[in-house]
């Protein structure tokens, strides 16, 4: 990190506080690491916090997987701890249905809002985007700092909600009303307050990213010379900016329902705990507002990952990315169309066949640009002399994994096949294939790829490959069986893994779950344990390599073309030590007649 800072970079701070004597002052610990306005420090803050939240969200799921595979049995090792922390809901170390629901709601919320989005958008975006466009910082450094701090406190509020009387929210990450209002705990209110904070943080981030990309591109960095990663972040920024506020409105209304006893989402005639409610509200309204965010959110999760994939593919195939313009326009189309597909999450609500047909059509339309993007990525591999290093392995695995996730989404997008699959394990398998071995693999690839720029050292290739092999095997062992379970009709959100619907327990039931399907619960839970063990090499490698990894020998260790590799390693405050002017596109690899097999964007 930089140890020097000049007040020129913080004109707001300098003017407002009158610290004109702050030139080249050594910043204290707090200003340097906690209240930093440097986009790189903020990026790393976001990165480490969100990785920890990913680990925490995963641990919640490990507990839940135990409950699914061995309902009613005490959790090994952690049982006493759970009882101590949560009391009655974990009596004798057994995860009760209530505790399962708390873990379930928070698993989803944490993974999406505190894990993947901050890692993909805020962490990588903060660190890489200003470097890739040749800017010295974000457009609004202090808003950037505020964004991280609001995010952090949003996370704290979520975690605190476990310990309020009644426990954390128990209505799933979707918080469907009236269930979420009816459950007698203030955990839901904490979740909503946390959500409002996280949305505020995303808004501040989105405004900042968009302004930075529009205003602070270096001379010569025209729109079509932007690396695809920047384009992906640009579209993502618009999605966050425009899709999140409706959820904020919905969150405020549900808070009113919970705290001021309004009836926005509570229908007439409903009775909650014997109390009086005015009624007249609409449960469907919540679902519309939630999924109006919810679906663009899916593309918020995937677009930055696609950006990372393109960067790493171009670099390691030593070829220009195939169809750069198609990628750019496809991601824009995805951005627009993602605002009109939301109700395909709601086929089962009885909103009417005409509306279902409309959303079914738009859903099929949005698969076209997604397929174009994936096709461009596959074609980019054609005829390349591929370097199989760790980042490239993760990115190569992303392609088929995202492919599986995307294609299995089609039966969910058609309302007739969705009627059978809705709310089953099939849905879980589908979107986890998109986000877990999809997005998270790309993010791992990004960590391995940009780590040398952040620290000046490589992460260990050997442990990276161990991490990769373990992850891809266990990811598939976890999620592939879920397709089978889902098609057999096993519903999600059941703390006992569907044992009460098993053919063994209810012999004459139509469509009872066979022993085979129930057995897969145990199988998947062991695979989840395997995935957990496969992450240990990563955690070890990450911290060990900061001090002991192989040192980079140049500022551009991967022989890359984009601007972030034109900085010193690690980049100081202000990023560039020379004037930056851009003369060419982002992926000029193996240009015929060029001296090297890569031509940096700054080369005239």
């Amino acid at each position: 990190m930089s140890t020097q800072a000049s007040s020129h970079a913080l004109p707001h701070a300098a003017h407002a506080a009158g610290h004109h004597d702050a030139h080249h002052e050594e910043l204290g610990f707090w200003r340097k690491y906690v209240f930093s306005t440097d986009h790189k420090v903020i990026g790393i803050q976001y990165g480490i916090t969100s990785l920890l939240f990913l680990l925490f969200g995963f641990s919640l799921m490990m507990m839940m997987r135990w409950s699914i595979a061995r309902p009613g049995e005490p959790v090994p090792l952690f049982g006493p701890l759970l009882e101590k922390l949560f009391g009655d809901v974990a009596a004798k170390g057994v995860i009760s249905a209530d505790l399962y629901n708390q873990f379930g709601a928070l698993h989803g919320t944490i993974m999406v809002f505190l894990g993947v989005v901050p890692l993909a958008f805020a962490a990588f975006g903060n660190y890489v985007v200003p470097l890739q466009i040749g800017a010295i910082d974000m457009a609004f450094p202090r808003i950037n700092m505020a964004s991280y701090h609001v995010y952090f406190w949003g996370g704290v509020v979520m975690l605190v909600s476990f310990f309020v009387p009644g426990g954390a929210a128990q209505a799933g990450w979707t918080s469907y009303s009236p269930l979420s209002t009816a459950i007698q705990t203030n955990g839901q209110a904490y979740l909503l307050v946390g959500l409002v904070l996280l949305i505020t943080s995303s808004l501040l981030g989105a405004v900042n990213f968009l302004a930075t990309i529009i205003q602070l591109r270096a001379p010569g960095m025209t729109w079509m010379r932007l690396p695809f990663f920047v384009w992906a972040q640009f579209v993502t920024g618009f999605l966050l900016l425009l899709a999140f506020p409706p959820l904020e409105a919905a969150g405020i209304m549900q808070l009113m329902d919970k705290l001021a006893h309004t009836s926005f989402f509570l229908p007439t005639g409903l009775s909650i705990g014997g109390g009086h409610i005015s009624g007249g509200g609409s449960p469907l309204l919540w679902q519309h507002l939630f999924w109006f965010l919810g679906h663009p959110e899916v593309y918020v999760l995937i677009l930055p990952a696609m950006g990372i994939v393109c960067e790493i593919i171009a670099n390691n195939t030593r070829k220009p990315i195939w169809g750069y313009k198609s990628l750019v326009y496809s991601s824009m189309v995805i951005g627009f169309v993602s605002f009109i597909v939301w109700a395909h999450h709601m086929y089962m609500t009885g909103m009417g066949t005409k509306i279902s047909t409309f959303f079914q059509t738009t859903t099929m339309i949005i698969s076209i640009p997604s397929v174009i993007i994936l096709t461009c990525m596959f074609l980019s591999l054609w005829g390349g002399s591929i370097r199989f290093n760790t980042p490239m392995l993760f990115v190569l695995a992303f392609l088929p994994m995202f492919g599986i996730g995307g294609l299995t989404g089609l039966p969910l997008g058609f309302n007739f096949s969705d009627l059978h699959l809705h709310d089953t394990y099939y849905v879980i398998a589908h979107f986890h294939y998109v986000v877990a071995p999809g997005t998270i693999f790309a993010l791992f690839g990004g960590v391995y790829y940009w780590f040398p720029k952040m620290t000046g050292r490589f992460m260990s290739e050997f442990w990276g490959k161990v991490h990769f092999v373990g992850s891809i095997i266990f990811m598939n062992l976890i999620f592939m069986p879920m397709f089978v379970q889902g098609m057999a009709g096993m519903l999600r959100r059941m703390s006992d893994g569907g044992i009460n619907y098993s053919a063994a327990k209810v012999p004459n039931a139509i469509g009872g779950l066979s022993d085979h399907v129930i057995y897969l619960n145990t199988f998947v839970s062991f695979a989840a344990l395997g995935l957990f063990l496969a992450q240990l090499p990563f955690i070890f490698n990450f911290f060990w390599s900061i001090r002991n990894g192989k040192k980079v020998t140049s500022d551009n260790p991967w022989d890359a073309t984009t601007l972030e590799w034109q900085t010193p390693t690690p980049p100081p405050h202000g990023n560039f030590t020379k004037e930056i002017r851009v003369y060419r596109g982002p992926y000029e690899y193996s240009v015929p007649g060029a001296k090297a097999d890569f031509t940096p964007q700054t080369q005239a």
Binding site: H15, S263, G280
Partner: protein
């Protein structure tokens, strides 16, 4: 090492950073209020026929508040224009009017809120319903300035001015006679819920905008001496936000008071 385009506009976009930032922020605000207005529409469409209340709000007061905000919008522009013409004295005067307007708006709004919180619907054990404002409370009962509601009469009353034609009287009620008592807070019905949510959120925006304008008018004004161009930009940006807040009210007034 300065971040470029903090005061001077970038050539190809024609904007300085903060101006672009505030426009983007306002786009997200449009979505925020848009979602709430959409909810209003859906709730109203979904309401039982005849159940959506009319005339609960005081139209003259709403009109005054609309005028107050429009005036403040004009003075905000005049203040910015004064700075552009290097007339700091006029800027101070105009912006003072803006601040007075914002206080005036909030004052009227809190009077209206108070009116709703003291407005009660009381169901008595004998089946009758009393509707009116709380006058005084005692240990064993309370007095309401209002009237007994009969269904046929309530159906006819669709506007506030008709409400005034109904004879109001002081009605003394014993606590022991009361089956259920509720004031016209957000919990009373869906209309009151969306009314308080929309106007409450809008009032928060007014307070936020007024605080920024007040800061720039008072302690923040020292920047006029050190960096006048940047200071003028700040006034412009805060003014853009203020216009948006006014615009929201221009939609709120007909939707909640008139329709």
């Amino acid at each position: 090492m300065e971040i470029p385009y903090t005061t001077e506009p970038r050539k190809d976009t024609g904007l300085f950073n903060a101006k672009l930032g505030i426009w983007l922020f306002l786009a997200s605000e449009v979505m925020l209020f848009g979602a709430l207005f959409s909810s209003y529409i859906l709730l109203r469409i979904g309401a039982e026929p005849g159940a959506w209340p009319h005339g609960l709000l005081n139209v003259p007061l709403g009109t005054v508040n609309t005028i107050v905000l429009i005036v403040s919008s004009i003075t905000v522009v005049m203040a910015w224009a004064s700075l552009k013409m290097k007339n700091f004295g006029n800027f101070r005067k105009y912006q003072a009017v803006t601040l007075v307007c914002s206080l005036c708006f909030l004052g009227i709004k809190s009077y209206e809120y108070n009116d709703k919180f003291s407005h009660y619907e009381v169901q008595l054990n004998d089946g009758r319903v009393v509707d009116g404002h709380m006058v005084e409370k005692s240990a064993d009962g309370f007095t309401i300035h209002g009237h007994y509601v009969d269904k046929a009469e309530a159906a006819k009353v669709t506007h506030a001015w008709q409400e005034h034609e109904i004879k109001h009287e002081e009605i003394k009620i014993k606590n022991s006679d009361v089956k259920y008592k509720e004031n016209y807070g957000p919990w009373h019905n869906t209309y009151m819920a969306i009314y308080f949510t929309l106007t409450g959120l809008h009032a928060l925006h007014v307070i936020g905008g007024a605080l920024v304008i007040a800061f720039l008018w008072g302690p923040g004004a020292s920047m006029w001496k050190t960096d006048p161009e940047r200071y003028t930009n700040r006034i412009e940006v805060s003014g853009l936000f203020w216009h948006f807040v006014d615009l929201v009210w221009i939609f709120l007034f007909p939707v909640l008071y008139l329709l």
